[in-house]
């Protein structure tokens, strides 16, 4: 009942909050445009709705995560940061904050979001880049689907797993460390899991992007990947293992740039982005796990899943863990 009340309140309040600030809308209209830097799939439809509803010219620049920080810092230091609004994994946003790239702004639309999504007055977390086990429904019998992460260490998965390189891919490294800190009872249990996983000789790829294709085609049976691919790759025979433990992921944050040329349009854009309308599109069209209350990706069972954010690891920690995983997975 309490949950239902929150959902109803959010439904009434959130769109009103986005529409109400006509003063902001007027100032934004005077600026005429807004530039958004991010690295997410299928943002253009959201930009199109924003442009149609506000009459502004919203432009989206997609920059891959590995080039996000160098690009933004290069532009910022040269006094040419072209972004008004920035979106990236939380660790990247925190580094930008440390460099003075971000400006304070608390969007009224985020009022309904969980408290932990707003740990300072600059970065607003709106989603979790959630990681799960996705498998080929035609190759894996229901009885064989992992029920716990530990099941992946079973020798029956030998040469059947694909995952991003645990020695180099920051999100995978953070996820493995997150398992230790949030899921496994002891470090010894976690280490046994890692050794079992490594002994199964998973195929290692550059990032999450190339993980679903080998599972779709049947080259591999299961992937440590992102459940959102069930939506974006439909009708591929993919499903996710509903493990009894929580799903983990890196939070996605956003903020306004300290040197925004269109600061009011930036605020209006951030309000729109955090609204149920935009978050609903993100969840429905591309399967993202968003934090707007009551909005879930249309993946069976995901509304009941416990999805928790991973703590931000420093680059030094990521590098140290990467070296540890390199040894465990016997990588050259």
């Amino acid at each position: 009942m309490k949950k239902l009340m929150v959902v109803l309140l959010a439904l009434v309040i959130v769109p009103a909050a986005f529409a109400a600030d006509t003063e902001l809308a007027k100032k934004a209209a005077a600026e005429g445009k807004v530039s958004f830097y991010a690295n997410m799939t299928a943002i253009q439809p959201i930009m199109d709705v924003f442009n149609a509803e506000t009459g502004l010219d919203g432009k989206y620049t997609r920059i891959s995560t590995s080039k996000f920080l160098p690009t933004v810092l290069t532009e910022f230091q040269a006094g040419k940061l072209m972004a008004d609004v920035l979106q990236a994994p939380l660790p990247v946003m925190e580094m930008l904050k440390a460099q003075g790239v971000l400006a304070p702004y608390t969007s009224p639309v985020a009022a309904g979001y969980p408290d932990w999504t707003r740990q300072d007055d600059q970065i607003q977390t709106f989603g979790i880049e959630y990681v799960g086990l996705i498998y080929n429904k035609e190759l894996v019998k229901p009885a064989d689907v992992p029920k716990r992460y530990q099941d992946l260490a079973d020798p029956k998965w030998k040469n059947k797993i694909v995952m991003a390189n645990p020695a180099a891919h920051a999100t995978t490294i953070s996820w493995l460390v997150g398992l230790k800190e949030n899921v496994f009872a002891s470090e010894a249990e976690w280490m046994t899991f890692l050794e079992g996983l490594a002994a199964n000789r998973p195929m290692l790829v550059k990032s999450f992007g190339p993980t679903p294709a080998p599972v779709e085609s049947g080259e591999k049976a299961i992937a440590i990947s992102m459940p959102k691919y069930i939506i974006t790759k439909a009708p591929a025979p993919l499903d996710w293992a509903r493990v009894e433990q929580p799903l983990l992921g890196t939070p996605r944050g956003m903020a306004i740039s300290a040197s925004a040329q269109n600061p009011n349009a930036a605020k209006l854009f951030m309000d729109f982005w955090l609204s149920k309308q935009a978050m609903g599109m993100l969840a429905t069209d591309v399967g993202e796990y968003v934090l707007a209350p009551g909005v879930f990706p249309p993946i069976d069972g995901m509304d009941k899943a416990k999805v928790i954010p991973i703590r931000t690891l420093s680059d030094e920690e990521i590098s140290q863990w990467g070296a540890t995983f390199k040894k465990i997975f016997e990588l050259p």
Binding site: S35, A168, A170, V205, A213, E219, D315, G322
Partner: protein, 561 residues
Amino acid sequence: MAHKRSVLTPTLIAIVGFLTVCPVIMLVFGSFSTGLGAFGEFTLDKYIKAYTDPELFGIIVNTIIFVLGSSIVATGLALFLAYLNTRTDIPFKFLFRIISIIPMMIPHILFSVSWVLLLNPSNGLINLFLRQIPGLEDMAINIYSLPGMILVEGLLDLPIAYLILAPALASFDIALEESSKVCGSTTLRTLFRVTLPVLRPAILAAFILSLVRSLASFAVPSVIGMPGRIYVLATHIYQSVATGFAADFGKAAAIGMSVLATSVTLIYVYRYLTAEGEKYVTISSRGYRPTVIELKGAKYPLFGIVGILSMVLIVLPVLVLFYTSLVPYSMIPSAKAFSMMSWKHWIEVINDPISLLSLKNSVFLGVVGATLGVTLSIFVAYVIVKIRSHASGVLESLSFLSFSFPGIVIGVGFMWFFVRTPLYATIWSLLIGYIATYLPYGVRPLTSAFVQVHSHLEESSQVCGAGAFTTMRRIVIPLLIPGIVSGWILMATMFVRELTLSVVLSRPGTEVLAVQIFRFSEDGLWGQLSALGIMMIFISTALVLMATFVGIKFKPVEEGG
């Protein structure tokens, strides 16, 4: 004339130097600076960390095998195909020419993925086919191996080698071979004792360009090497950059410096090996016409071999690409797959305004960029070949500077440079970056073409009162048409599928094809990616046909005899 020549070399050094040195200087600064930008406090830390890595030795060994292997495959195959196409009466020549340069038009990541679909040990199509044969039930050729990487990289570099060798073979002087035959040599002996030695500059140019290209290649090492746990310098650099959220391109540049040093050394080795330029001149003031060797009985068997090679090595991966663009997700061919085929991915791409804009931008960059690039290359190649001074050696090295840097690093070098100019985030930054980085694609075919034109021809023209420019326009350029066409094709097709610079420099309004393709690949959307990839092949084919047609139209040599 001497004055004009003396002005030409420094002018070109200034132009080419400005284009290629600026991003490299930025990377040098970045490699010696603390922090993530180009400028910071001085430190040697990045070099110390990069070069004291205990794994570096094994990675260098892998890299040497990979780079040498793929360059031998590329050059050997290109020589075989170019010889048959330009010098013999093998049928369907035009078709083979197109096939030889198709890998140039395909985004490398797509070509690599096609080979994974064909030869992965679990359910690669070729492996599945071979397992049907009695006795081969356990067949599992593994593409995720060094030989697999060498094969695919060799095929991807084949067009570079082919487009350098073909013009050299096309302008080969019959007199040399005839003399050999008059002295009683067989065709085969003539080939090995006369033809190939005379072609040494072109063969070496093709080989060295393949070496440098495979050294900087990232698609094959990441798509095929990484899953096989085989790391080369390019993937090592990627890992050192990508581990963590704050990518340190300064450290990547520090590793890249050794690649750069290797490439520059190779250029000097090349110059040393071809120092006696006169030996390789084949077009002098005497008339020349390349001869066609009759294959007689060997005609159809050789045609069969080339046909099968082309089919397996090039047509099959392209067919896989087309198939992938029609099926809803990655699936091996089956009745179910065929029943699910549709044009969905094509329609999505055609209806996507950014894909259409990127198509337009890429065609503009391909046509305008290649034309400007080849024009600059003619002058650069002229200085390198005809004015063999110390300064021309400097110019030759400069032309390779940006090209030699690993792709993922040089893009950032250009960003660090352009952000300090008004060109940042405009299409002109892409145009300039492309020409600067891929200048060797124009310069190499033209130098190997220039080497074969005897200076007597220019001297005769000047004796008749023509100026340097008129001599260039009336005498030299017409003889260089095959080289110009090759250079233009290499540059245009490269610019149409260029990714490494574009992914860093492209902004809203300046999107290009490869960046769209890269986005699809990041999202794992192979269907849309393949559809756009095939459109890219169509555009490049149209550009190749256009260039070939113009080349044929303006080739006065055949008329003159």
